[in-house]
């Protein structure tokens, strides 16, 4: 159902007043704009930018009722106003291209890098691989990587809160 139709039906409705009438839905915005609290938003009370009051003033009364204000707000597309271009959708391929290395390499890299940073702080006497070496070891994987990992873990073991050996 269109908003205009909803507003029209709401205006014609008999029986108990709806809890979520247009007046109530827009009341927070309306009361902020209606600075003199006379129940009508007038040109001087509207923001300087945006649609003119005339374009929202359906009954040409020179002011906006809550229903007219809500209809005027809803008539504007938030994706397209202000002459801004639409935002393109997410490209899964492009998004994933940020992660250049495979999940396995990334997992190895972050562990070794994590251990190096911890060792720098907690075991400064330990010889540490450089950032480039960490990357190379992670990409290669295998025994060389594991040996480096084990060496770093051993260096940190003494300072582990869980003790040296498990």
């Amino acid at each position: 159902m269109s908003l205009v139709l909803w507003l029209t039906l709401a205006a014609c409705r008999t029986g108990p007043a709806p809890t979520w009438s247009a007046e109530k839905v827009v009341s927070g915005v309306f009361s902020r704009l209606d600075k003199d609290a006379d129940g009508v938003v007038r040109p001087a009370e509207l923001w300087r930018e945006g649609p003119s009051l005339a374009s929202m003033d359906q009954n040409k009364s020179g002011g906006l009722s809550p229903a007219e204000l809500l209809a005027g707000i809803q008539a504007q597309d938030p994706s397209a106003f202000d002459d801004r271009p639409g935002r393109p959708g997410v490209s899964v391929t492009r998004w994933r291209s940020v992660l250049r290395r495979s999940p396995e390499v990334r997992t190895r890299w972050e562990l070794l890098r994590f251990l190096v940073i911890e060792a720098e702080l907690r075991s400064p006497q330990t010889p540490l691989p450089s950032a480039a070496e960490v990357t190379a070891l992670s990409e290669a994987g295998g025994p060389a990587y594991v040996a480096a990992q084990v060496r770093l873990e051993a260096a940190l073991a003494a300072t582990s809160p869980q003790g040296a050996r498990q």
Binding site: M1, L3, W6, L9, A10, P18, W20, S21, K24, V25, G28, V29, L46, W47, R48, E49, G50, L70, I73, Q74, Q76, D77, P78, S79, F81, D82, G86, R87, P88, G89, V92, R96, L99, R100, P103, E104, R106, T107, R108, E110, R113, I117, E118, R122, T135, G141, G142, V146, A147, Q149, V150, E153, A154, A157, S160, P161, Q162, G163, R165, Q166
Partner: protein, 480 residues
């Protein structure tokens, strides 16, 4: 429309073929779940926010259960919604990075309800809710009327679907990026809290697609992509040291304090715009006479930083601004007055809560807890020590009523995480906190949480074998 017969077959098998054919579907309640993307809890009056930004949410809350300590399970839309739909933590589903894909083997809320006769529809706003990431799994109807759109687009789409699906219980999921960057919304709502018209860089920033995510401190790195500013091969790109090391290029713009203020003002306008759309939705439901038979659940998938750590985004690190979200649950007919529940809860709890109210058994393996034990009589739900989260940039977090503890540097899906968490002292820079939590207690809770999880991928099996051999030879800790 997306049809899912093969998936339903699989899910039926997983649930032991127990779909409730013998239960009268007409007695089951319906559900409308509204996800207000990127809305911080502190912008919602009913959640303790100031400034009356959300009169409609506040009115809804006055008839609802209000979870004042609700936390998202991730700081990113994709993973957070995956937890919402599955009742599991993101790392149990896939890698917590942008290779994430919702696994076919894990049932979703929509899928389970569908098995019990529910009609399930969703109107979403694209982005990470694009079907390409798999979050449409289980919905009989899943549409995205406008890419990066608003509830102004998805509410009418949802109502159109609903008008054809009121002959039985339904689940309708609605989502909008109303509070997401681009913050600036159409006037007069978008500028409701601005003292003057923004011009120059400040104007361009609040109307740009992702501009605020490129702001570090008071510099707008307008030509730098997010992954250039915060490279994935930087272990902790969110730390003060990492942020300070970002060098502005010639195109960078130094912002004035007023520009930074207007970002927050535009965000507040976006919050009010989102609130207005919730009001329009409630009016549409009332018009259809559905509020007496329908649960209405309003939540957000994550918050947003508005300069707290020099950032204006939600993907890096973790903080209260990013994880604390609104969660408002209105039962059919509404409550006479708001019932505020202050225990830590998560979006992960929504699935079991919905299924409980639907009279449908929850799938095995979920970690959420149903929140409304005892039904609507206000009996307290089971308490837990903490609620947890996993971020895309190698962060995990534990939150309780007093604050949060964050561990960063190892991905949530890594098989190494549990051990590193066990062996890293709280004094390490890997740990950060906010608030004033009992750090050892929260760490203990975090460790216990990880022990219960089965990270999905990847498992470095070849390395594990080599490692096991070396460790066994040397007798080091951590040997299997």
């Amino acid at each position: 429309m997306m049809r899912i017969a093969p998936v339903l077959t699989l899910a039926t098998a997983m649930l032991g073929g127990c779909a409730g054919q013998d239960v009268e579907t007409s007695t089951r309640p319906s559900f409308v779940i509204i996800s207000l993307d990127t809305l911080r809890a502190d912008r919602v009056g009913a959640m303790g926010g100031e400034g009356s930004l959300t009169p409609n949410l506040d009115r809804l809350a006055a008839q609802s259960f209000v979870f004042s300590q609700a936390y998202a399970q991730s700081t990113e839309t994709l993973f957070s919604h995956a937890s919402l739909f599955s009742g599991r933590y993101p790392s149990e589903l896939s890698t917590v990075d942008y290779h994430f894909s919702y696994p076919p083997s894990v049932p979703t809320m929509a899928e389970v309800l569908g098995l019990y006769g529910y009609q399930t529809g969703a109107a979403v706003s694209g982005g990470h809710l694009s079907p390409a990431f798999g979050l449409g799994k289980g919905f009989q109807h899943y549409e995205g009327p406008v890419e990066w759109g608003s509830l102004r687009h998805t509410v009418p789409a949802g109502m159109t679907w609903l008008d054809d699906h009121q002959d039985g219980p339904f689940l309708l999921f609605l989502h909008g990026y109303d509070a997401h960057a681009r913050y600036l919304k159409p006037p007069p709502v978008g500028q409701l809290y601005m003292s003057e018209v923004p011009i120059g860089p400040g104007r361009a920033l609040v109307q740009s697609t992702m501009g605020t995510a490129q702001v570090v401190g008071d510099v707008w790195h307008q030509r730098r992509r997010f992954d250039q500013l915060f490279p994935v091969d930087r272990l902790r790109p969110h730390t003060a040291e990492a942020l300070a090391s970002i060098t502005p290029d010639p195109s960078a713009i130094r912002l004035q304090p007023a520009d930074l203020t207007r970002i927050a003002q535009a965000y507040d306008g976006a919050a009010t715009y989102a609130d207005l759309q919730v009001g329009v939705l409630m009016a549409a439901l009332e018009q259809r006479g559905l509020l007496e038979t329908t649960w209405v659940i309003v939540l957000s998938d994550h918050g947003e930083e508005l300069g707290e750590r020099g950032l204006f985004d939600h993907r890096l690190g973790m903080s209260k601004a990013l994880l604390h979200v609104p969660l408002i649950i209105r039962p059919p007919g509404g409550l006479d007055a708001a019932q505020v529940k202050a225990q830590p809860v998560g979006l992960i709890d929504v699935l079991p809560t919905v299924l409980e109210q639907a009279g449908v058994p929850a799938p095995a393996g979920i970690h959420g807890q149903q929140l409304l034990d005892g039904g609507e009589d206000g009996e307290p739900a089971p308490t837990r020590r903490a609620i947890f989260a996993e971020g895309p940039w190698r962060t995990i977090g534990a939150v309780d009523g007093t604050g949060g503890l964050v561990f960063s540097g190892i991905s949530a899906h890594s098989a190494h995480l549990q051990k590193m968490l066990q062996h890293t002292p709280l004094s390490s820079e890997a740990f950060e906190t906010w608030g004033s939590p009992d750090r050892p207690q929260l760490l203990q809770a975090m460790q216990a949480w990880r022990r219960k999880l089965s990270p999905h991928l990847p498992r470095p099996s070849a390395d594990s074998e080599a490692r096991r051999k070396i460790l066994q030879e040397r007798g080091y800790w951590g040997a299997p």
